[in-house]
Structure formats: structure tokens, C-alpha cells
């Protein structure tokens, strides 16, 4: 059954809030503002849900889950099970599941549902006509406040021959109908690492090329080291400090020339996946007409309140030059509603922003890194608990990784944390909550948890802090108390 064609509504006068881009930030802003009784217009040129739902987080997480299942099947013996005979990956079934999940989740934010909430949904290319108006599909929409949340798209790296040879990005990799036998992944950021591992586990022979000395850019060295080991264990052929010089087609093959310092090598593959970052979607918006300062490469300039150089226009998410926090696009949407419609003074910098790379193990972080803290002259100490110290991690066969809590030295104040664990994305939330609410390590150490759970690692790190404090007076008092009790 196909959906009936969409007809854009007639504009309802001046909108309190006009939103361009129906990704996480745009959708939350639309729903929040509408719930408060604002007159809201939402413009999307493609699919509701944005990159996250359609090309990014959701499809990749779905495929990662299936790939993890195959890994677990192969490792069954380690868990006291039997390795199933003849494990064969049914790639069409994997992709069918991806589409099914995408369809299920997209129903939550359908145009009909948004319309029922009172949001005017427009499909088409939005273009500013002036400081307070936008055109879409031949209509002129006027606004009091606007939010640009058009996101970003995959970078097309200037590698000779790449365009001619053809390549995949996160935008089209989920359209594959068969698993590439040999896959070259260019880029060792979150997208490259997640998909390299997933495709390797689904049976591709993966070569991962990263032009930096470690994966995940500025992530903690120890986390990147563990990830590197995990990827190699999955059979991925890792090339760090390596650049892809050129690509060419030879018959059915794609041949890439690589160079690491002065060492040259050549790889032959069936597909190339590029994950080297994104560029903001600012083209075609005619931002000049609205007086919105921007840069084609970096994006729209915003202040800490997410306001652009036009005080009526706000921006959030990957389209911004500053504060690109894709993991809190929803929060950014709420900040914009508060600041744009209700004279709010909410700052993006006040947000505690956790993020996670969904490899196996996952790598999650919140707050400051040690190097960042030291750059700011903040004395910092790290309390580390290895996952192999955690009973539940051992029973689950998930001992790889650690919890690191970075605190201001001499205090229990949490500056940041890095978690590498099978479920790091979940574990980090407890630390984010503590940071958001000002809880220190003393408080975290006192939190009771069901035993055995992997979050014991957080309690143990907090307890390590408590034990590390000078205990002389406390110990003396306890001894005196017991001595009195014996008398």
C-alpha cells in the first residue's frame, strides 16, 4: 500500500516558530513548541527523521546488532555453547530487518501525526526570502522565529579517481543488497569503525584506513588502543597513519593506492566506504537573505544560546559551526524553543553532553578529557576500574574495557569520564546524571546497585576515590569506638 501524495498546507499567517529540517532537533523543537501552543511550521526536503533515523544512528545500530549476533555465534564455545554448524550470513535478511526497524520508528514522527499535533508540515526546498520569511514549494511562510536544523552530509574526499570508481557513505551504504566480499573503509572515526566492524562480522574482508595514528580522533588513547585491538581481532586489516592516494577501476575491482610515510601498498576491493566526516547543509538556503552568517565548510555561526547573526534565526545540530553535538540534537531543539519563544537564556555549554561510538566494545565519554583539563590548568586525577574486575562482566564474557572517572584532584568532583565496555553507552548515563546534578564520587560510592551488574564498575571507581582519601582521623575514631565497645 502506498501513502497518498502529500499536499502542503496553506500557511497560517506568521508562525511563532518555523523550522527547516526534520531531524532530531527539528522534530523535538516542533513537538515542544506545538505542545506549548505555538504556531509551528516544519519544512523537510526529504524524509522526516533526518539522517539519524534514515541513514545514520538507527540503521547502523540495527546492522551492528545483527553483526554482534554472528560474532557471538562464532564465539559460542567461549560461553559454554556449541558453535552452530554452517553459519551463513543472510545479508538480504539483515537489510530487511534494518528497513523494518526504520519503518517502525518513522511511524512515530509521521507527517500525519505531526499535523494532528498542530504542526504545519511542508515538504520541499526551503529558501530564505528575507530576515523573517522563507519560501517553500511556491509558498511564502513568514515567521517570528526560525530554527535551521538541516544537518550535514557526508564529505566527499578529494581522492583521485574516487568519484569515477564510485563509493559508499553512511547515506547509501544501507541500500546495499549484497554484502561486499572485500570492503575498503576510508576513515577511522565513529562511522568508519562501527561499519568496518559490522561488515567484517557479516563476512566482508575489511581493510580500514585511517590517516591518523589512532582511531576516533581525539578520543582517549587507551580507549582507541582497545578498539584497535578489538577491530584487529575481528579480522580487520588495519592501516593507521595511512592515506588513500588514488582509486581506479580494474574490471569488476576497485584498486586503491595507499601510502604510510614512504611505504606504498595497493588493495583490491569490491566496494569502498568513505567515513571521513560531514559538511553542513547550508547550500540553497539563501542564508544571506536572512543575514545569517555562515561558512560553507564549517556551517552557521551561532552563540551559546544557539542564536545566529540574525536574532530571529537559531540553528542547531550539525549545520552549526560551533557546538556540533549530534548526541544532544534533541536537547538543542528544546534549548531553541525556550530561547526563541520564551525569552530563555539557556546555554548549550551548560549541557552535560555524553557521546558514544557503538563499536564492540562501545566507547562512551562525557565531560572533559584529561588533556583538556590539564590545558585548562585543572589538576586532574583518574580513577580507573577495569571491566575484568567486575563480576558481571566476567559472567557475560564482556571483560574488555574500563571505567575511568576523571576528578578534580583532591575532591570528588567529576570532570569527565570515559567508559569502554560492551554497554558503555548505557553506563555513561549514570555519570552524566551525576555531573548534571552535581553529585560527587562520595555520593556515587553510596548508591546501592543490584548485584551483579556492570555498573558496579562505577561504584568501584567511586569507592577507589573514597579509599584514596586520608583516613587517619576516621580510622582513629572507629578504633576508639570499638575499643570503648569492648570495655
Amino acid at each position: 500500500m502506498t501513502s497518498p501524495p502529500w499536499h502542503n498546507p496553506d500557511p497560517r499567517g506568521r508562525y511563532h516558530l518555523l523550522i527547516i529540517g526534520a531531524g532530531p532537533a527539528g522534530l523535538i523543537a516542533a513537538q515542544t513548541a506545538s505542545r506549548w501552543g505555538a504556531k509551528v511550521a516544519l519544512i523537510e526536503r526529504n524524509l522526516l527523521g533526518g539522517t539519524c533515523l534514515n541513514d545514520g544512528c538507527i540503521p547502523s545500530k540495527a546492522i551492528i546488532r545483527t553483526s554482534r549476533l554472528y560474532r557471538e555465534m562464532r564465539d559460542a564455545e567461549h560461553f559454554g555453547g556449541r558453535v552452530p554448524a554452517g553459519i551463513a550470513v543472510d545479508f538480504p535478511a539483515v537489510m530487511e530487518r534494518v528497513r523494518r526497524i526504520r519503518a517502525r520508528l518513522s511511524a512515530r514522527d509521521s507527517a500525519e501525526r505531526l499535523t494532528a499535533m498542530g504542526v504545519d508540515v511542508y515538504f520541499g526546498e526551503a529558501r530564505f526570502a528575507g530576515p523573517d520569511s522563507v519560501t517553500v514549494g511556491g509558498l511564502v511562510l513568514r515567521f517570528k522565529k526560525a530554527l535551521v536544523a538541516t544537518g550535514a552530509r557526508a564529505v566527499r574526499p578529494p581522492i583521485a579517481g574516487l568519484e569515477e570508481a564510485g563509493y559508499l557513505t553512511y547515506e547509501n551504504v544501507f541500500d546495499l543488497t549484497e554484502c561486499p566480499k572485500r570492503l575498503l573503509v576510508i576513515g577511522g572515526g565513529p562511522v568508519g569503525c562501527e561499519l568496518a566492524q559490522a561488515f567484517s562480522r557479516l563476512g566482508s574482508r575489511v581493510i580500514l584506513v585511517q590517516d591518523e595514528p589512532m582511531f576516533l580522533g581525539d578520543e582517549e588513547r587507551d580507549a582507541a588502543q582497545l578498539l584497535s585491538d578489538a577491530l584487529a581481532r575481528d579480522g580487520i586489516d588495519i592501516h593507521l597513519n595511512t592515506q588513500t592516494l588514488r582509486v581506479r577501476v580494474e574490471g569488476d575491482d576497485k584498486v586503491a593506492d595507499l601510502v604510510c610515510d614512504d611505504t606504498k601498498s595497493r588493495v583490491t576491493v569490491d566496494q569502498i566506504l568513505v567515513g571521513v566526516g560531514t559538511v553542513p547543509n547550508v547550500q540553497g538556503l539563501n542564508l544571506e537573505a536572512a543575514g545569517v552568517s555562515h561558512d560553507d565548510a564549517r556551517g552557521i555561526r551561532v552563540d551559546d544560546f544557539l542564536r545566529t547573526t540574525n536574532p530571529r534565526v537559531f540553528a542547531a545540530g550539525d549545520v552549526c559551526a560551533e557546538g556540533k553535538f549530534p548526541h544532544i540534537e534533541s536537547a538543542a531543539g528544546r534549548i531553541v524553543v525556550a530561547n526563541a519563544l520564551f525569552l530563555g537564556r539557556q546555554r548549550l555549554s551548560a549541557e552535560v553532553v555524553p557521546w558514544c561510538t557503538f563499536t564492540d566494545p562501545e566507547i562512551a565519554h562525557v565531560g572533559l578529557y584529561v588533556t583538556e583539563a590539564r590545558r585548562r590548568k585543572i589538576p586532574v586525577k583518574t580513577f580507573t576500574i577495569m571491566m575484568h574486575e567486575i563480576d558481571r562482566a566476567i559472567t557475560d564474557g564482556e571483560e574488555e574495557g574500563f571505567v575511568k572517572l576523571h576528578v578534580r584532584e583532591g575532591t570528588g568532583k567529576i570532570l569527565g569520564a570515559t567508559v569502554v565496555a560492551s554497554h558503555a553507552g548505557d553506563l555513561i548515563n549514570e555519570i552524566s546524571l551525576a555531573m548534571s546534578t552535581g553529585l560527587d564520587l562520595d555520593a556515587l560510592a553510596r548508591v546501592n546497585r543490584p548485584y551483579p551488574t556492570q555498573s558496579q564498575a562505577i561504584r568501584m571507581a567511586a569507592s577507589a576515590y573514597v579509599r584514596s582519601r586520608p583516613q587517619k582521623i576516621r580510622t582513629w575514631l572507629k578504633r576508639q569506638f570499638l575499643a570503648c565497645d569492648r570495655r
Binding site: 567461549h78 585491538d229 581481532r233 579480522g235 597513519n241 614512504d262 583518574t382 580507573t384 575484568h388 577507589a464
Partner: protein, 443 residues
Amino acid sequence: MVSLFARVTPRKGSDEDPMLDEELLDRLQGGAFGYFADAINPTNGLVADTSRRGSPASIAVVGLALSAYTVAVERGWLAREDAARRTLLTLRFFETSAQGSAADATGYNGFYYHFLNLESGKRAWQCELSPIDTALLFAGVLTAGAYFTDATSTEVEIRALSRGLYGRVDWNWARNGKATVAQGWKPESGFLHYDWEGYNEAALLYVLGLASPTHPLPPTSYAAWTATYQWERIYDQDLLYAGPLFIHQLSHAWIDFRKIQDLFMREKGSDYFENSRRAVDVQREYARRDPNEYGTYGPDCWGLSAGDGPGKRMMRVRGRDRRFFEYTARGVPYGPDDGTIAPMAALASLPFSPALALSAVRHFFELYPEWTETWRLPSGFNRTASGPDPRGWISEGFFGLDQGVAVLMIENHRTGLIWKLMRASAPIRNGLKRAGFEGGWLR
């Protein structure tokens, strides 16, 4: 009197006396020094990187050899004249060998290539011009300059060459305009991608670079290097973290870090010597826990460090893929850990934790009694990875770096000879002071 044939450890249930510590150390130190007698090219003083056939020379191993000669003189293994002659031969080679940007030169800007052809002294393979290995070489050069203080023409020339060679190193060039020193340079592609960041073995490099009378590193470079340190509590030990054990040892082979502190250590109330002691405890605790269930680690079987390995291969072990490495830097607790122990790393921990180090070494001899034939420990063993030996993989031959560090660390533990020499060496003193070290013997 201890029998000449006393066992390193007594047989279970026997009343044999174990070999006394001093005798054991004598044999281990002598065995390690024997490497340099075997591996030297007597025509140019270069020393092979490993005892394997066709091995090139390593400039770091030459630096260790130059230092080890002084130990050998004090121990009576080498006549002073003989040691001085070998030293002069070596220094003359470095003085006269080709410096320049040609791909087959011996060095450039006063630095030297990591590996040199043992015979010709020219750059081996397409290896990098190496600041850290040059620093290790110059630690040896300066040790020789500090030790050979007699008025003989040989020793006068040694001192002059020591000063001259050190003075011509353009340490500042090695920053490539950045805050910290680059890991290397190649004539084919320029500076290597990344710099010396995080706590690593580069302390010696910075100290020598800062003290240069001609092309010094700026003090800001040391601050930039230490800015990437992490002070961490692991297994209830507070320490400046570095995974592989050799990082906690290499600079200590020459520099006596006891009770002297830079800004970072002053803030933490510790020093680098104490830090290395704690690193030993962390290594031992990791081995006790044996998180990867190799079953071969234990309180006396520890030592994850840079060293030889079973080779690049995968094996299924208890239903999981285990990946093995060739020569690499293994570390705890974050890995990589393929089950390979570097016995020399445990031995080189002697100055920091003598009892633990000796207990581990005795255990190694229990596992491999045949090692008493040479009293020389191999670079690594791995009882999980298969090899020609039914007890698993054992590294073939010997690595000069391991043997040299063992000679120096045993001597530092026994008499502090190298530390004393270097404490009197102006480049070491000045470099430490410029790095902000205070206290202890620097007062």
C-alpha cells in the same frame, strides 16, 4: 660457600640451597654483558641489534654497549684500555660517518638512523632517523665521556668526541616547528606523522635536548610533553600511567630519578623512581588477575613490555580468537596482551622492586632451566602460542636492548655506577634543571 652448581631455585622437597642473590646477579649481569662481546663489529664498534643472522646495528644498542663497557671495567670483565679502545673506535665511527640528507647516510643534523648496516655503517632498510634512539646512543656517549677521565690520549680523545658529537645534534630541528619532538624523519617523506606525547621513554630525550649547548630544545617542549600525562589510580595504585614496562625503565638506566621531582611529580607528591616501583606492582597485579585467562601469568610471571613476539597470527583459544604479535610494545592493563612475557623487563625492574624482580627471574629459570647455560634471558616467551618447543613459543636469540638495559639496571641496583656517572654529567644535570627538576641530588 655457595656451590658452583647451586640451582637458581631448590627442587621441591630438597634441602639444596638456592643460589644467593648476589651470585645470581653476577651471572645474569655477566651473561647479559656477554652479548656485547659477541655482537660487536670490531672494525667500527657498531653492535648488532639482535644475535640473529644478518641483523643490522642499532644505535640504541650501541649506546647501551658504551655504557656497559664502563660496568665491565669495574667488574673486571674488560681491561680499562680495552674498553677505552672499543669506545674510541665507536665514537670515531660516529664522528666520521656520513651526515646528510642522502638516503644512505648514517645520520643527519647530528641525529642517527635507528638501524645501520653492521659492516658499512650506512642506513639500514628504509628506517627512520630516530631522536629517541639517538638519545639512547648519546646517553652511552656521555657515560663514556664521564667515565674515561684519565689523561691518556685515548681517554682525552673520548672526552673530546663525546662533547663534539653531542654538540652537533640539532635537537630543536627535531620538533619540526611543533611543541614536542617528532618520532622520526625520513629523507623520502620527511617527519613522521606523530610526536612524543603521553608518558613514555622520552624523558631522556628531552633532558639531553634541553641541555644542548648548541641547539637546545626550548623548555616549553618539556612542558608540552608532560601536558599529555595521565595521573591514574589503577588497582589501588596512584601512578603516572604507561602500559609497557620498558617505558618505566629506559631513562632510569642512566638517570637517577630518586627523590628528584619535576613540576608534575611535585604536584603529585611522587617521583619517577617511585612511579616505576608502582608500575611494577600494577604489572604484577595484572598478571595475578590474568584477565585474558592465559593461565601462565602469576605473581612471579609478569613483565609486559616491548619485545619480540610469536608473530602475526590468530589462534582459537577456549573458543575465542587470540591475536598474537611480532615485536611490539605490550602493556597493562589496556594491552595489547597476547600472553607474551618479556623476562628482561622483570629483571630490569631490579632497582625499583628487587625482591619481586628476583623472585620473577628465579621463576623464569624454573620454567626454562636451560637458560642457565648462558645466563642470558631471551626477549620473550609465550606459553599459549605454539612453537617448536612443547612449552610454547620462545624468542630466538637475544636482543641487544634487553641485554644492555639488564647490565645497567643490575649495576645501578648493586653500586649505582651509571647513575653516579650521569649525576656528574653536565648535560644530564642541566637538562634535568631546565626541565624543572629539583630536590634530591640536584640540590
